[in-house]
Amino acid sequence: MRATPIGQPVDRVDGRIKVTGAAVYAADNKPAGLTYGYIVTSTIGRGVITGMDTAAALASPGVLAVYTPFNPLKLFAYVQNQNDESAPPLQDKEVRFHGQTIGFVVAETWEQARDAASLIRTTYQQQPPVTAFPGPPAAMEKADTDAEGPDTVLATGVASVAQAVAAGEVTFTASYSTPVQHHCAMEPHATVATWNGDHLTAYTVTQGAVLSVRRLSETLGVDAAKIHVISPHVGGGFGGKWGNWAQVPLACAAAKALGRPVKAVLTREQVFTLAGHRPLTVQNLKMACTADGKLTAITNDGITSRGFAGSWSESVANWTLTTYASPSIQVTKTIVPLNLGAATVMRAPGEANGSFALESAMDELAERLGLDPLEMRMKNYATFVPNTGKPWSSKHLDECYRRGAEEFGWSKRPKKVRATVDGDWLVGTGMGTATYGASRGLASIKVRLSADGTASVSGTAADLGTGQYTVFAILAADVLGIPVDRVRPELGDSTSPTAANAGGSNSTCTNGPAVQVAAKAVQTELVALAVTNPKSPFHGKDPAEVVYRDGSVSSGGLTMSFGTLLTTCDVGSVEAVGTSPRLVDPEHGFRSFGVHFCEVRVHRWTGEPRVTRWLSVMDAGTIINVKAARSQIQGAVVMGIGQALLEATEVDQGTGRFANGNLASYLVPVHADIPPIDVRFLDHPDPLISGLGAKGIGELGIVGVAGAIGNAVHHATGVRVRELPITLEKLLGS
């Protein structure tokens, strides 16, 4: 047998086309006769459009059409929720947020469309937009917490969590808030639509081709079987490309109406208003514990914004239900609708913000008790799922803590804050726990063996930079016993068997087992061909005596590679579709785990915080490609550093406009902000999630990062910042 490639560092199979510029992204497509669409957006935050003068735009050179709510493209109502806008664009005259789609200009060139769009004059009846949480929570909607399991757990003999908190030997209360943040995937949202009769081909950004097909079928009123979505490469998603935003239906409907292909790409500024954001949140935490640090009760009342244009909001308090052991726990969720664009899922939606509060609070409580932060966490280690009492499928967080502490040198950490000064820099260290839910859904994958000796593996899955292409290649190569470079993974095509979309850290744990099933099933097909095809040297043999191994078929001393066999039989290929079912296991809790340790320096005169050292130790089951997996955790840490220290979308309270909605003013981490990031994985396959044992890692890496940094800032300076981001003005004078 050849050595398995699983768990080895494998170069990305899509590496060569990405470093040569040959990988084709949605906006790179240019069907013959292409026209260009440009979205017009509202310049008020709330109100009604009373008129749009489009005469000058229509008369502008090259303009083919100007669509507005007064002259809309017909789009049917959306049926299913997709974490995006609740209704398709241009179908009514109400303005729900600043920067909303109010028009769509199509012209022969992009320059013509853009400039014509600027000639449209719009009049509004304005109303004051609601853009911030109200002082008292009167105007808020109490909502279902969407928790897995109960959102209230009471210890025996306790009447209410409030009572349990009040009865605590030590109690702690604090409020943590996070601002609007944006995904800022490097690729702006793009769709190129072209019709052939009543068949639509859409090259579009998406975290799942089937998501786009479903949305387009609903809103265009077209049979899904006549919609072909092609999205082989996606320039980052982070949740922002799960939904299908305005450019998707507009490009497709306009292309149909005009009988010409249409390309619509959001400008970067439009990505900020039109393609979702992480909502504004507040968490009001109350904790009680014994004098020696055992938690006895926690309540976390979470408040989240939701855009009036969308339905999604963040269950920000739920992470409190599953992280630390406590006999009484309660979380609540309150939604405040705001005149901002639709809020949507962004990397670890709920957990990234939720962990900032709880990881900060654990540190604060530990300090009050004189405990080491790590000791505090070990004292409250959740051996069972805290809110259900179920056992975990697997959990080695304690090993992550031990190994991380040892390699980071945690034991040398001064107990006191502000204890280390290096020149003008105050130095501190902090840690934070990471956990993220794991699950396995239903997926089908096709494996096809070809006469040229290659194998293709296809499914509707997406590679947003996650490394899914390489995961497919590694797993198929492993089961087929052939080199990774002889496998051709094919993703992002809606005509492939339906596999998991890229979201919820679900791709590899769902699609991986299906690749394995399909790669096994195709061997049976190959053997069947070998014994039934008259040209085959194995013709007439009992299939039980014909063996597939390492890319070849053997029987009675004769061995032939599948490529040669297919060529000999004059058969182009054999294929099989393998399906891996959804995991239903109500008896266990499934999560990935990990810990972050970091060092932060805060300049004593300017307050500037800099992350200078990082170690993450992750327990996420089987790691398929350690090279890409390490990069994915590293990248999540980078995004978490942005969340902690840099990122906030500023809402102009008078107008509801995102004042810094561009890449110069919304600060994502740049190269100079990032220190070396050391990522380690434990090697413990999860025995229950699948035979493969892989859990998810896409989101895990960002959870706990902001908390760890806040804790390190506090350790360096003695200042506790409970409002993200931790910017220098909050540390001045520290």
């Binding site: 170069d11 990305r12 590496g15 060569r16 990405k18 470093v19 040569t20 510029g21 040959a22 990988a23 084709v24 992204y25 906006a27 790179d28 240019k30 003068d53 000058a56 008369a59 502008s60 050179p61 090259g62 060139t109 992009w110 320059e111 013509q112 400039d115 600027s118 000639l119 004059r121 800022c184 995937a185 490097m186 690729e187 490469h233 996606v234 320039g235 980052g236 982070f238 970067r268 930079g465 490394g467 090279k627 890409a628 390490r630 990069s631 590293q634 990248g635 999540a636 980078v638 561009n662 890449l663 110069a664 994502v668 981490p669 740049v670 190269h671 100079a672 990032i674 220190p675 070396p676």
Partner: protein, 210 residues
């Protein structure tokens, strides 16, 4: 207004070269349509744009990856859109169109340039190099190979710009320490967070150079 400028209706082209007068006249007409807010002024500004429907194209000739290219284009077209929409070179990516992200970085006369901030008509006789032009046939440029070796990208969308910047950083030789390289590469955003791997890739190439 701009419509009184003689260069506008004449197309601004003299013997295949762009005249300054014509170029600025056209640019003014365009910016009037974009920037003026009062409705009356904007409607008026639309007139010269309309009049320039087909007459406003400008000829420009420059080299891309060693090949001579001739374009007759709308003077509003940036080098980025000329590469992507007119010359079929889509390896250069549009991340922001405002000079904020670095995704579109190319070389003009061997210097790093942001083509989203560069009008194509300003490139007469210049030599442009894009991501499609740095490999030697099937052999990748050492920086391209190092990005694969060190997993210096995830989604790949910023990668062309990162590589073009890295090639220049290595060639210029000014950035040698880790911090200098980080600083020199900080005009290229990577939201996937591949920065530490990009640093390792650049160091590998520098080590090979020594």
């Amino acid at each position: 207004m701009a419509s009184n400028e003689p260069g506008v209706s004449g197309g601004g082209s003299v013997d295949g070269h762009l005249s300054r007068r014509g170029f600025f006249g056209q640019a003014a007409a365009v910016s009037a349509g974009v920037a003026l807010v009062p409705p009356a002024a904007a409607v008026a500004a639309a007139q010269p744009v309309e009049a320039a429907a087909n007459a406003g194209l400008v000829d420009v000739a420059f080299k891309v990856n060693g090949e001579p290219k001739k374009l007759s284009i709308d003077p509003r077209v940036t080098l980025l859109d000329a590469l992507r929409e007119r010359l079929g070179l889509t390896g250069t990516k549009k991340g922001c169109d405002r000079g904020q992200c670095g995704a579109c970085t190319v070389h003009v006369e061997n210097r790093r340039v942001l083509p989203c901030l560069t009008l194509a008509v300003s490139l007469q006789d210049k030599a442009v190099t894009t991501i499609e032009g740095i490999a030697d046939g099937e052999t990748l440029h050492p920086v391209q190979q190092a990005f694969i070796d060190h997993d210096g990208f995830q989604c790949g969308f910023c990668t062309s710009g990162q590589i073009m910047s890295a090639v220049a950083v290595v060639r210029e030789g000014a950035a040698r320490t880790d911090d200098q390289i980080r600083e020199a590469m900080s005009g290229n955003l990577c939201r996937c967070g591949a920065y530490p791997n990009i640093l390792d890739a650049i160091k590998q190439v520098q080590a090979g150079d020594r």
